[in-house]
């Protein structure tokens, strides 16, 4: 699969602050690529350099083979950009905004009514922007980003400020954009969003890209720890668990055992041990590390700090 976005050695400073420091990565055709990290990590600046809004001090960027700065008009015909926290005119109607956006491109826009239907905005087509809910506004911004049938879609902090239900609906939408063969480049500081949505993520902190991989790959490489929590009342079960090679610690709290260890085999081995010794459990669950843990491991800080 070929690269749609190529970023190489990009650096951007504001005075003495280094916003982006030697960022390099490729985004492949047809994938959902996430730039993740805490607020202020340099995600938005990186994205704005790729969109041609900002000029990097150093490094090269190519989007669909075009230079985002010198060939910005050519590029804009082929990309779609969702505007982070942007406001439209308070009293513009949904259909007017879509109609206006459709008129901005040299090529023929997609069928606006169908787009509104796909985004669940048909009922709201004559509603004023100010009367839309947060989720509806975001869906409108996605509609505007898709109106020119772009090859690459940029989504910046797409679900910030939305309730969980609206967030899940938006995630489904983003997946449907990928299903239409488009490439999605998004930024988020929500690790859950990145884990559920992205094919690959780049972790960014203090302007630097720390690592790039699929969410599963990052977790496997950086956080091999597995935890099994189970409840049972067999007296000497603890001894059996401690004999499992992958196990590092067993903590007992009355009937509840917390078994910690490393590697994907841990869970299987614990189940094996249970069946071999005929131990009956009343509760069994596994705790797997997630991207939050990866971030903590890589930076020594929680992403929420």
């Amino acid at each position: 699969m070929h690269s749609v976005i190529e970023v190489s050695g990009v650096r951007k400073t504001y005075g003495k602050t280094v916003a982006v420091d030697e960022a390099s990565f490729d985004v492949k055709q047809g994938e959902i690529f996430g730039l993740i990290g805490p607020n202020g990590a340099g995600k938005t600046t990186t994205m704005e350099c790729i969109e041609g809004i900002r000029k990097p001090d150093r490094g090269t960027i190519a989007v669909l083979g075009l230079d985002p700065f010198r060939q910005v008009y050519k590029m804009q015909e082929r990309i779609g950009v969702q505007l982070q926290q942007a406001q439209l005119q308070k009293r513009i109607k949904v259909w007017e905004a879509v109609d206006l956006w459709a008129s901005l491109y040299g090529k023929k826009a997609v069928d606006a009514e169908r787009l509104l239907e796909q985004l669940g905005l048909t009922d709201k087509r004559s509603a004023w922007f100010m009367n839309l809910s947060g989720g509806q506004k975001q869906r409108l911004f996605i509609a505007l980003a898709l109106i020119n049938d772009p090859e690459v879609v940029f989504l910046d902090e797409l679900t910030t400020g939305l309730d969980p239900q609206a967030r899940h609906a938006i995630w489904d939408l983003v997946r449907s954009i990928r299903e239409r063969g488009k490439t999605v480049f998004l930024t988020t500081h929500l690790m859950e969003e990145a884990e559920r949505l992205c094919d690959r993520v780049a972790i960014m902190d203090h302007g630097r890209i720390i690592d790039i991989d699929s969410p599963e790959g990052l977790i496997r490489r950086h956080c091999p720890e597995r935890t099994v929590v189970l409840t049972q009342d067999y007296e000497s079960a603890g001894e059996h668990f401690e004999k499992i090679p992958q196990v590092e610690s067993v903590i007992r709290d009355n009937q509840r055992f917390t078994i910690r260890g490393r590697g994907d085999d841990l869970v299987t081995e614990v189940i094996h041990c249970l069946s071999e010794n005929d131990i009956r459990v009343t509760d069994f669950r596994t705790i797997l590390p997630n991207l939050e843990d990866v971030f903590l491991k890589l930076t020594g800080r929680s992403i929420r700090e």
Partner: protein, 250 residues
């Protein structure tokens, strides 16, 4: 190419304007009411000497109201620009084919259209003050006002360039623009002003706008005022060049 979507946007902005009844009334209704009120209290009949001793010659009342219309248009444009900028919208829109220049141009067109509409309403409402059969040059006056507004807008762009936040746009604009009315020759002839104010008056579009509007109102014709039109154009170019240098998109 650069201003793709401008007519659609202009039309949308006009519709949006009409969706705000209070704002629409403030922009169009208030100047008309001021005109009617001034006409009423001075009991004026144009062309007939006013029985009320007034500091403002009756011929200047339409000019004053026209200037007020122009200034209110400029102030609202300054506010719109600073609101857009404060929201980061002008910056973000650069990633889309909707150019900030398109937005600004659409707003300028809307302001000019509304200025013309207000003036037209003013004349319709004020017809009873004019002597029967009087030939009010309202088409010429409208054109003169559009040229004046256009030129005063360049001062608005400079104000929009220097105000830090949207909250300050209206007051800063008012503090800069309204005192200009005092020295633009409407109330005191320019030649009677102290030298400093006289020099200031000479670089204000308002001064030439007043002269042009007054001249057209009393029927002097365009030829007599080519100098004023030229001055308005030169000042427009000068101030636009300055604001292009200092304007911040974000």
């Amino acid at each position: 190419m650069m201003l793709r979507g401008i007519w659609k946007l202009t039309w949308i902005e006009l519709k949006i304007f009409m969706r705000e009844p209070l704002g629409a009334f403030g922009t169009i209704g208030v100047p008309v009411l001021i005109f009617l009120a001034l006409g009423h209290v001075t009991n004026l009949r144009f062309g007939v000497p006013s029985p009320v001793a007034s500091g403002l010659p009756p011929d200047n009342i339409p000019v004053l109201v026209a200037i007020l219309i122009a200034i209110s248009a400029v102030l609202s444009l300054v506010t719109i620009i600073s609101i857009y900028r404060e929201g980061g919208i002008l910056k973000r829109l650069r990633a889309t084919p909707l150019r900030p220049q398109t937005i600004l141009s659409a707003h300028v067109i809307v302001k000019l259209l509304l200025t013309a509409a207000t003036l037209a309403l003013m004349f319709l409402a004020g017809r009873r003050y004019f002597p029967p059969g009087a030939n009010v040059p309202w088409i010429s006056l409208t054109i003169a006002l559009l040229i004046s507004t256009w030129s005063i807008l360049s001062v608005g762009f400079i104000i929009a360039s220097i105000v830090p936040t949207a909250r300050f746009a209206q007051p800063v604009g008012a503090v800069i623009l309204y005192p200009m009315i005092a020295i633009c020759g409407l109330f005191v002839p320019i030649s009677n002003l102290p030298p400093v104010l006289r020099s200031a008056a000479q670089v204000m579009p308002l001064t030439y706008a007043v002269r042009l509007l007054h001249g057209i109102w009393v029927g002097e014709g365009w030829l007599a005022h080519l100098g004023d039109v030229a001055a308005l154009t030169v000042l427009f170019l000068l101030f636009t060049a300055i604001s292009a240098k200092i304007f911040r998109w974000e």
